[in-house]
């Protein structure tokens, strides 16, 4: 019986095609990615059926964490720079250019004006530690009082960029009086239109909103 000879094949695989695919995907993700902005606190937003996406720029973000602490942030680094210069001048905080640079490149701030200088002078990891214990930006229901520092922040930010849209990102467990203070502050500056950041949930079948969206009350099989 003749021996069956198996042809010996090389185990080397041509990697070129796989490499092409890998780098194609890599390029896609690199271009499509937008890094999550650094957030001082984790906030779990409630869900709603609203599907309006948040605008890309000119956003003033007011974050309210479960304990009711308020953090302030705007997205454009250039405006952040001019804003902190204004704040420095108005409140005479005596910030150094380095402190201002730290603010321009930083994320949300949630410290009273009195502590702003020491906060900005600290290295980033210490700032993170401080965010855990800070009291947040003091707020109140009237804007005239010095206690309402949020009002001052909002006013100065809007002076720099009148197009700013205001978004409130609050935790579901934040108590209503804290939210009310923020809303009242906005109202006192004659801002009656703002956005609440929410997660997305499905429209319940059979409801009026469902009929408007789909034309029928019953879900399709």
């Amino acid at each position: 019986m003749p021996k069956l000879k198996m042809p010996r094949k090389s185990t080397n695989v041509d990697m070129t095609a796989m490499c092409d695919v890998a780098f194609l995907l890599l390029t896609f993700f690199m271009l499509a990615t937008r890094f999550k902005p650094d957030e001082p606190v984790t906030v779990v937003t409630p869900n709603s059926i609203s599907e309006i996406p948040i605008p890309d720029n000119d956003i003033m973000l007011l974050t309210v964490d479960p304990k009711g602490r308020v953090f302030f942030s705007i997205d454009n680094p250039g405006i952040r720079r001019t804003l902190i210069e204004d704040v420095n001048e108005y409140k005479s905080l005596g910030l150094t250019p380095d402190d201002m640079q730290s603010f321009a490149h930083g994320a949300s701030v949630g410290v009273p004006f009195a502590q702003l200088k020491s906060y900005l002078a600290a290295p980033p990891n210490q700032q993170k530690e401080f965010d855990k214990v800070t009291t947040g930006i003091p707020t109140d229901t009237v804007n005239t009082s010095d206690q309402n520092e949020l009002a001052a922040w909002i006013r100065m930010a809007r002076n720099n960029n009148p197009k700013l849209r205001i978004a409130i990102k609050a935790d579901g467990n934040a108590s209503y009086p804290e939210i009310k203070k923020v809303i009242k502050t906005l109202e006192n500056w004659k801002i009656f239109k703002f956005n609440l950041i929410t997660g997305l949930k499905a429209v319940p079948p059979g409801s009026a909103a469902y009929i408007m969206q789909n034309g029928t009350a019953k879900p399709k099989q």
């Binding site: 080397n12 993700f29 690199m30 990615t33 804290e178 009656f192 239109k193 009026a208």
Partner: protein
């Protein structure tokens, strides 16, 4: 499997004295490059924010002074007052409770898909529609919901009730400060239900 192909293709003989030029393969092993590529892909996939957060637009009533004659009074028959309270409880009643001699019938409910606040809103909407068809109300009148969150309610409740407005297509609603009268209603109901609702 990952070795380089270095087999020289030295086949033909050269004469003595002629230097043997080693023929190197042009094939490069791409495995490490692919490894690196996928590593980076994984990194970008994890850090990327694919879905942007959604927002809900809200318009608050203008608090500037409005002259008495310009104000539109909400009719009792189209109004529904919703009080948000502790533990995601909702108290609601029909009308505005402006008449102290006739306290409204306060009902307690929760946010739930069936038999909760949603059904109450739908029922009220239907009754307003009926009244309009009967000619008791003019065409302009429509269901008006007054939302009054109390100090014990959370942001969650607020967003949920605003969401119910969107779900049930209630066009006119307002977030109003809670009045002492409403607070009293909540207290009374809480005290009355002490035995039954305590968990």
């Amino acid at each position: 499997m990952a070795e380089m192909d270095v087999s020289s293709g030295g086949g033909h003989k050269k004469g003595p004295g002629v230097k043997k030029g080693k023929k190197l393969s042009t094939r490069v092993d791409l495995t490490p490059m692919v490894d690196l590529g996928f590593l980076l892909i994984t990194f970008f996939m994890y850090t990327t924010t694919m879905s942007k957060p959604k927002t809900m637009e809200i318009n608050m009533p203008n608090n500037e002074k409005v002259e008495e004659k310009d104000q539109t009074k909400v009719k009792e028959s189209v109004a529904m007052t919703v009080l948000l309270s502790k533990d995601h409880r909702i108290y609601y009643y029909e009308g505005l409770a402006t008449d102290p001699t006739k306290p409204p019938e306060l009902k307690v409910t929760y946010f739930k898909p069936k038999g909760g606040i949603r059904d109450a809103i739908i029922d009220k909407k239907k009754s307003v529609d009926e009244l309009r068809q009967q000619g008791v109300l003019s065409g302009k009148d429509q269901l008006t919901v007054l939302i009054k969150p109390d100090v014990n309610s959370t942001y969650d409740d607020l967003v949920n009730i605003l969401d119910e407005m969107a779900i049930n297509d209630v066009k006119v609603y307002a977030i109003v400060d809670i009045t002492p009268v409403d607070q009293e209603f909540i207290h009374m109901t809480e005290n009355a239900n002490q035995g039954t609702t305590q968990k």
